[in-house]
Symmetry: C2
Subunit: 354 residues, 2 copies
């Protein structure tokens, strides 16, 4: 069994210094710390985390819980994750990703082992069992997202109201009066209480009503395929639509491809504006998507900072909502004159050529 | 401080039973185990991991080290990760993702804390400092990827030779004789010794020579944007190209969008065949990409099993190479007759219309 003495010798420091570091009882210079940690690593010293946990109850490791098996880990998720990892690193913490299911079972097992100082929750559901687990185990945590009752919960989230207001407002100013929302599939148990779908839809219903627009909400399952299918249904059921707002980033990509294949030009025939997307993804379609840019980098950082403040005994950051901002592309323009047989003819001709 | 007694009482079992579980000294039924772990979680019992580490030197947690700040965490990475997490779960281990840089510094800090039983290394470089760290700390590990010297290293990887042979062979049979490889940017220090670029390129050079094809290798930086730029350079520098193989999945997406914007039809004018891509991603382009499908699900599982075998004192799995297999889409077809002014005219016309 490797001892503190072995570590001290290898690092060329006193045992006391090693103990100061392990127990956080006295400051140690960065160089000394590096030397000691290198020595511990080389010797395979396995107890500093314990010593720290028992002394300070801290491991300087925090986890981001992301239900990677239920929620596709796409470009936006990667933005949240990498900015959170960055923010943790800047404050001398390590962030790890836990791909635990969102029913709380695995999360309970992991936090029960006391390996991490706290948890950042991603893909929050309105009524989220993971919150109960973290409260029962008195684990510090911060939500990136919102449950329906936020009493005393540290959280940051997308400002869906502002995002939808800005998106609809932009389209309205361009002259659009037939604006449809493609939301998620609320009959799917995994997503029926998924904040982004629920909040985007209620914001859309409110804002559309304020503008005196007809309210049309259609579903997609969050795959590119379902985005294509949604467009096929849209042009059948609501042929006078001039613009679509789409919540899911994968469905939005499929929507553009789908409209192209149906012989509709984007944006001339129909404007497409995703409500939440990473710029990386906007470059994938032709033409490049105009998007409301997911504030992943901002929220990943804020959520992590809010958690670390709690870990260190301070108050969390006050709750913050950050809107997705309009990010220019080429899939949004003013609507053309109301559809005509000629218009249909043009589309048919285009379709035949392609 | 919560004690074993508290846990035993809460779980309604004897202290001995709790100890059997913690120290792996006697088998405990799944139900009892669940009851005890639930009790530990509820009480915030923080020492079982220690007890286990001291007794059995095992935490039943393994880490996947992925340099998420250097390497975009895309769909293929997500496939490796989720299949690895699944494989770990099936064997009663938890897999966590460590987004540590690939210079080994952070990895050393984390493994030095003895939190995990072993590490799966992703995005392996030909000469990878992380391997040295894991050897020096005698941490069990498995590579998903290959260093240049594999002496005694447990590894699984993509079979780049077979993958490129199958891809070139498929295009050749369709009649293609001008097949260009878009590889990575080998002047970028992060990627200059990155296995997939180096191995794909050498395989391409060998196979193209065997088929008597002109060897043309161009670079991309691994972003959709750079994939678009590569296509602009391609049609200028090598106008007679009829097919492109692309290593990076993001560059491949950009390439299709880029060719469309340049007025080239895919696959009529140029066939596009990514060498490594997840099907999820293939559906993002219009038309849907024909791809060589990254064996992420297979390799994530094999790498994890190989690691767990070592953690449990058995020999690792024998090294395995798995090729990417052709996965049908609509971006590969036979070449049309050699380009003509008329052809250029058609493209110009298409471009003007779009």
């Amino acid at each position: 069994m490797v001892t503190m003495r072995d570590v001290a010798e290898r690092a060329g420091v006193s045992i006391a210094t090693v103990s100061f570091l392990l127990n956080d009882t006295k400051p140690v210079t960065a160089t000394t710390r590096a030397r000691i940690e290198a020595a511990m690593a080389e010797l395979g010293y396995r107890r500093n985390v314990v010593a720290r946990a028992l002394a300070s109850r801290r491991t300087h490791i925090i986890a981001m819980a992301y239900p990677a098996l239920d929620h596709k880990f796409g470009f936006s998720a990667a933005e949240f994750f990498t900015s959170a990892a960055d923010a943790a690193r800047k404050q001398d913490y390590h962030l790890v990703l836990w791909p635990v299911g969102n029913d709380g079972t695995e999360l309970k097992e992991l936090v029960g082992q006391g390996l991490v100082d706290g948890v950042v929750l991603m893909e929050v559901q309105l009524d989220d069992p993971r919150v109960t687990v973290l409260q029962e185990t008195s684990t510090p945590f911060a939500l990136i997202g919102r449950t329906s009752s936020l009493e005393g919960l540290a959280h940051v989230d997308i400002d869906f109201d502002r995002t939808v207001e800005d998106a609809v407002g932009h389209l309205y100013e361009l002259g659009h009066r037939r604006i449809v929302l493609i939301s998620g599939n609320l009959t799917d148990p995994v997503f029926s209480t998924y904040g982004p779908y629920v909040r985007s839809e209620s914001a859309y219903r409110r804002v559309a009503a304020e503008y005196g627009l007809e309210i049309v909400v259609m579903e997609s399952s969050g795959s590119t395929q379902s985005g294509q299918e949604a467009m096929a249904q849209l042009v059948e059921a609501h042929p006078d639509t001039t613009a679509v707002l789409i919540v899911n980033e994968f469905a939005a990509l499929g929507a553009v491809a789908g409209l192209n294949r149906l012989g509709y030009k984007v944006p001339e025939d129909i404007s497409v504006l995703p409500l939440l997307m990473a710029p990386e993804m906007a470059a994938l379609t032709n033409p490049q998507l105009t998007i409301m840019r997911t504030p992943g980098p901002e929220l990943g950082q804020l959520g992590t900072e809010s958690l670390i403040r709690q870990v260190e005994g301070a108050d969390p950051l006050p709750p913050q909502l950050v809107p997705a901002k309009l990010y220019p592309g080429a899939t949004v323009a003013g609507p053309r004159a109301p559809r005509s047989k000629a218009g249909a003819g043009r589309r048919a001709a285009r379709k035949a050529r392609s």
